[in-house]
Amino acid sequence: MDGAAYNDWRLTVLTPLPAWALALLALAAVAAVVLAHRGLRGEQRRGRRAALLSLRAASAVLALFLLAEPAVELLQTARVRNRFAVLVDASRSMGFPVEPDGPSRSAAAGKLLSSARAALDRLADRADVEWWAFGSDVAPADPAEVTKGIPPRAGATDILGALKGVASGSGSTRRLAGALVISDGADNAALADGLGPEARAELRALGVPVNAVSVGRSAPKDLAIERVAVDDFAFVRNTVTVEATLRARGFADEEVRVVLRREGAVVASATVKLERGRDRYTVPLSFAPDQTGTFVFTVAAPVLPGEVVTENNSRSFVLRVIRDRVRVLLVAGRPSWDVRFLRGLLKQDPNVDLVSFFILRSNQDDPGPQHELSLIPFPVQEIFGEQLRTFDAVVFVNFAYAPYRGLEIERYLPNVRDYVRNGGALAMVGGEQSFGDGRYGETPLADVLPVSPIDGTSMSEVETRFRLTPEGKRHPVTSLVPGDGPNETAWSGLPPVSAVNLTRPLPPGTGSSVLLDVPGVQVGGAPAPLVAVREVGQGRTLAVTTDASWRWGFLAAEGGQGNRSYIRFWNSALRWLVRDPGLAPLQVEPDAPAVEPGAPVGIGISARGPDWGPAAGKRVSAELVAEDGRPVARGEAVADRDGMARLELVPPGPGAYKIVARGEGGGEPATGAVAVRGAGPEDADAAPRPELLSAIAEATGGRFSALPGGSLPELAMADPEVVEIGRRKAVPIWDRAWFLGALALTLAGEWVLRRRWGYW
């Protein structure tokens, strides 16, 4: 036998008898002894009793021994060679200094490992040493590179994830016996808020001691916008509060001005007085967005001297500013069916917040005592002065400015004109007090109206038909039903109008378009406009030169057509006036409102043609415009048959970018916005957290030390597992002749003594 091949042994039994049979035999043996004991109760001589009982017991034991066939089993075993993982933090925060004016944390870690390399190599006797670099994930590392200092590039730190990855996976079937984590502890994943009970349980479940060396002593001087809390959207003209969290480390007694910018322009600011011993400040920044759309906002703190990280001093976000409701001011010169039906339509629209004023008295009337009337003063100053800009659209229905000299409404007409130019919307609806009949041709409103009123003329009072102009066939305002033919049919089926104010179209280049005209009413040899629109400055205007548009609803309903056309016309007109985004032919939307640095921005563009159908094959372009108005990336694409085009643009770096999309052949560009995250979690908080690493070591039975100043701790490691790896051999110990002889002797001895002492 080659005894050297076996390095372990254990006792076993070789009997073919089943366990229950052995148990019965054992009971029988015990019974034999017990019977002997009972039979000897009358024996007075203790020596005799003891001798006989001993012989009976020895016989029972020997018989059992021979029946059980005991043996020694020789085994060949080995200790499994386990793994020991060295995990080195490669996240960006390791690039910060280990202490003020010291080397980087990464370099300090490299230096420690370099000096401790011999000690780590000695572990090779007990385990295979594996080297890993981790950040948001974990990957094998070259020990030579690690000892020189790993380049700190990873955008996040996930210590628990790295430990779990190394323990469970890595393609090895061997067990992890221990780990050494070298990090600044600035975890921003599962352990971002410290080692909670759940994380502690997960660590313990790994079943290995985690040794830790923390790198970095004190937080560097840093001012950061750590967090910005704001809803995804806000309502125009409603105050919205952006709650920024300012983190200041290493500063005291300084005043910091935090600003909120919308694409470069400051819209709100707040001053924070830094206090010693406090590092987080909540800064509310309130403002009321004055226009709808998607905008990039940036919260920024100044860069103070001595700051380690400057990228985290600003943080951008995208805010969609929408209307809560379209706010419309309706002013009517007298009660009429035209304003009655228009007001009813607007009033029923849940998306419209309507404020209306009707002039209920004329300048010659005599209704009786004022206190018996429900009339109110016309608040000219309020609605045409300070409140004007709070309206999305102003609608004049047969409203004259002139008769009320005491109110001096004409003084406010320049305000109304400027309101339009600055992005407001004005609709003038006809009547005997409107357009030229109301002498608007000589007022500032003539600068913005889509038609030229002919002052001093009177309305044409004939029932007359109207027609769509070429512009009207394409315009969303006059689109009653989809398709050119059906739309023309729909318009031609409407009742004629009964009166038309005399106006002229504006010359080309003024941004105006006549959408409907009246061939039966000629002004200067050309059909009088009936519906016209104009883009003027940043605003829009609409002219409806009749007081009979109500006939398109109520009168049409008599013929069984219902009032859908009337409702559709005025709804479209209002949506166009207030620039409802859904009415723009070109739409642009980024795939996500914010992207990580270096990632491309996916952009979807939807293009519609003049007929409002998908503009298949249309070339579209999109560019990213930086906060300073400079284009930084541009791309082109062709719309597919659904009118959709996709392209990707790569922003040059962190910041806020406006997306401007254009279609070939001009037209209004579409805009959107996207933010490229400037400060990732690594830059946001550069403070080392040795207490986290210490807690990890303590929770797992590992050892801990801290740099600078410390050294590699004595590494704790689980004992290697022993496994049987192959051969075994059973050496019987029962088949010796003297065991049988001894049994025969004890039985014979008892028999002889019993005969002699008179028991048989």
Partner: protein, 256 residues
């Protein structure tokens, strides 16, 4: 919205109007207002005595023009419910004295459509009946025209009572009921019914005499009837305008 500035007081308002007159920039009537743009009430012809007070609507129109900025045509326009052109007159007037023969089904359907699309009907009982005569006929017809909108008394605080005048009583040639009744559609009064012979209180001869005395209240009762007529026309043209929040503080002050 807060109340207006000092300049927007009654005195300044009237001052402004006086100045406007003086300047004669837009004196009333100087502008040609065609009949198409004026309020022309459609006077419904039916099989009964449909025009018991022939001068009533003309007089109401005159009062509207005199008291308000509403411009009316000289006369109401007789309309038949089953003839084309009914919708040219969103405001209809249905009067009668004595029993009215039933409307035909097409007439009822046409009236129903008119009201459902935003029309307004004033029903005026000239015979002072209550439970019989015109009252019984018209209640029967209205129930058939708008079966889902039963006639209900108009509450005292309804906007109809403040659409121009602040009213807290009823008027008419007689006072059969101290309230008016109405049928509402979509929150709007589509039909208003008076049993107090409003037309009888409005009616005036060519030489300027009131045709009927008003009992029991005399001339104040007539004035109230005229004011109700003004408010009804205002309501037809402005609906709930006076319920807008901007008016409430002023109205509350004057009511108190």
């Amino acid at each position: 919205m807060p109340s207006g500035p000092r300049l927007a007081t009654r005195r300044s308002f009237l001052g402004g109007l006086a100045a406007a007159l003086a300047a004669a920039s837009l004196p009333r009537g100087a502008r040609a207002l065609g009949d198409a743009s004026r309020l022309a009430v459609g006077h419904v012809q039916h099989g009964g005595n449909w025009n018991p007070r022939p001068s009533a609507l003309r007089r109401l129109g005159w009062e509207l023009t005199r008291r308000t900025s509403i411009e009316t045509t000289n006369d109401a326009v007789p309309v038949r419910l089953d003839r084309a052109g009914l919708h040219r007159h969103p405001m209809l007037y249905l009067a009668g004295s004595g029993a009215m023969p039933p409307l035909s089904e097409p007439e009822r359907a046409a009236l129903r459509r008119h009201l459902q699309y935003g029309g307004f009907l004033l029903v005026d009982s000239a015979d002072g009946s209550d439970g019989g005569g015109f009252d019984a006929s018209v209640r029967r017809e209205l129930a058939k025209v708008l079966p889902s909108a039963p006639l209900q008394p108009v509450p005292r605080d309804h906007v109809l009572h403040k659409s121009f005048y602040l009213l807290d009583r009823q008027g008419g040639r007689v006072l059969v009921k101290p309230w008016m009744e109405a049928q509402a559609l979509d929150g709007r009064l589509a039909v208003v019914y008076s049993q107090n012979d409003l037309g009888g209180a409005w009616a005036r001869t060519e030489i300027g005499d009131w045709e009927y005395p008003c009992t029991p209240g005399g001339e104040p009762q007539r004035e109230t009837a005229i004011r109700i007529g003004v408010n009804l026309a205002m309501y037809a043209l402005c609906t709930d305008y006076k319920d807008d929040a901007v008016h409430l503080p002023f109205i509350m002050r004057r009511r108190s």
